[in-house]
């Protein structure tokens, strides 16, 4: 009798410890905290950039209309300011980047046509100025970045074909020139992030195939170097399109996107080892066509869509903190 009750006790203890284990299993690295959003301002395929610790975002598509409104997100204060409307055509899937204190926004899709116009935004005067058209012609879903005094736009979809060409923009002379040497495949809805003085390019899709190649671009030499493929390891599931890319404290991140369905997974890239690690996925809805703001030390993933559900939320990633399901 005593033996039996002891057995039961031991079993209970075992069962309890098992349950404890499974509920404690969520101590993955990476935590997400919800930040300020407007209820009912869902939109996807917006363009954004960060200048002086302030996030800027605008244009996009809300499921009914293509948009021109443009907002500043005050990262320190966690509030929003409506800025000057983008003066070009309403559009989604444009390309944008920050460069030397100015924002640049161009190309995209207005619901009928792909676009080629290109504009700069001056946050000091809250004003837009039209610049020289993108040299690569009409384009949407391209990749853009600004580094070392030069802007770059490449890849994307021109209305007929996916592309792999790259062009660089000189803001001093307001001129574009072709940049040769990208050895990657043509694609649309790829992504990029910048770590230090190097730019990383990958993901995207073309003809239903998710791209596995991954590239490092050195703007000082204008050389693209092939890095390990995004399916190099068996447990990698990084390949996707319509994702966001950003940098926090010297590591790169690719979050959300689409690959057979919407995703919330978060992959962290270490440029020192050329390796990827799966950390806590974006809390909230899995999504595609979101936006990321990164100051280099803080990063936010916001907006986007999940099927026909357009999203209006905003999450900050703390990649080195443990996952906490109660915040």
């Amino acid at each position: 009798m005593i033996k039996n009750s002891t057995k039961v006790l031991v079993l209970c203890a075992l069962a309890l410890s098992l349950f404890n284990c499974s509920s404690d299993d969520d101590n993955d690295r990476g935590n997400w905290i919800e930040r300020s959003v407007f209820d009912g301002v869902p939109r996807s395929n917006v363009v954004g950039f960060v200048i002086d610790e302030l996030g800027y975002m605008g244009t996009g598509y809300d499921g009914d209309d293509y948009l021109v409104d443009f907002w500043q997100y005050n990262i320190a204060g966690d509030y929003w300011v409506q800025k000057a409307d983008f003066p070009g055509t309403e559009r989604s899937s444009a390309t944008g980047f920050a460069l030397d204190g100015l924002g640049y926004l161009g190309t995209g899709y207005d619901g009928v046509d792909e676009l080629t116009d290109f504009w700069s935004y001056n946050p000091g005067s809250n004003s837009w100025t039209q610049k020289a058209d993108f040299l690569g012609g009409v384009r949407q879903a391209a990749i853009g970045f600004g580094i070392s005094g030069t802007g770059y736009i490449g890849t994307g979809y021109d209305g007929d074909n996916d592309r792999k060409d790259f062009y660089k923009y000189d803001p001093t002379s307001d001129t574009w020139s072709e940049l040769v040497g990208f050895g990657g495949e043509k694609r649309r809805f790829g992504t990029t992030f910048t770590i230090g003085d190097k730019v990383y390019i990958g993901t995207g899709v073309s003809n239903g195939l998710y791209k596995t190649d991954f590239w490092e671009f050195d703007p000082s030499t204008e050389v693209f170097t092939s890095k390990l493929d995004l399916d190099e390891e068996d447990d990698y599931s990084i390949t996707r399109s319509n994702a966001v890319g950003f940098t926090v404290d010297g590591l790169g991140y690719i979050v959300s996107g689409y690959n057979g369905g919407v995703l919330n997974s978060t992959w962290e890239y270490d440029p020192g080892t050329d390796e990827w690690e799966d950390i806590t996925g974006l809390e909230g809805y899995s999504r595609q066509d979101a936006l990321a703001f990164s100051t280099g030390t803080r990063a936010f993933v916001l907006l986007g869509r999940s099927g026909s559900l357009y999203l209006d939320d905003n999450y900050e990633l703390f990649p080195q903190e443990d996952y906490d399901d109660e915040d």
């Binding site: 300020s36 407007f38 209820d39 009912g40 301002v41 939109r43 809300d62 948009l67 409104d69 005050n74 204060g77 966690d78 509030y79 929003w80 300011v81 409506q82 800025k83 000057a84 409307d85 003066p87 005067s125 809250n126 004003s127 837009w128």
Partner: protein, 110 residues
Amino acid sequence: MKNVLKFAFGIGLIAIIVVIFFQTNESSSSDYTTRVYPVNSGFGYEISIHNKVLIKQDNIPAIQNEIPFCNEDNANTIASLVVSKLENKIAPTISKAELKENKIILNCLN
């Protein structure tokens, strides 16, 4: 015993009424509050939800350049419009057409 039951019942009823009163009181008032303030020889507005700032406009939205509202009335008008959009779960974006419809003065700095 009966009296004790009646007493407990009474207390319970009062508690329920108090809870209902406070809940309806809460939901009937707006979640959003507005503050209009002087800024750069004009006026701006701030919209908060549950005492946390959500939107802060030192300048008139939608238009180019940094131009504050010329008077408190103008700032109040647009702030109220933004709040009504937020309450109706509409994008709180102000368009240039809405500035015109509400006769917002855009050039008092000149």
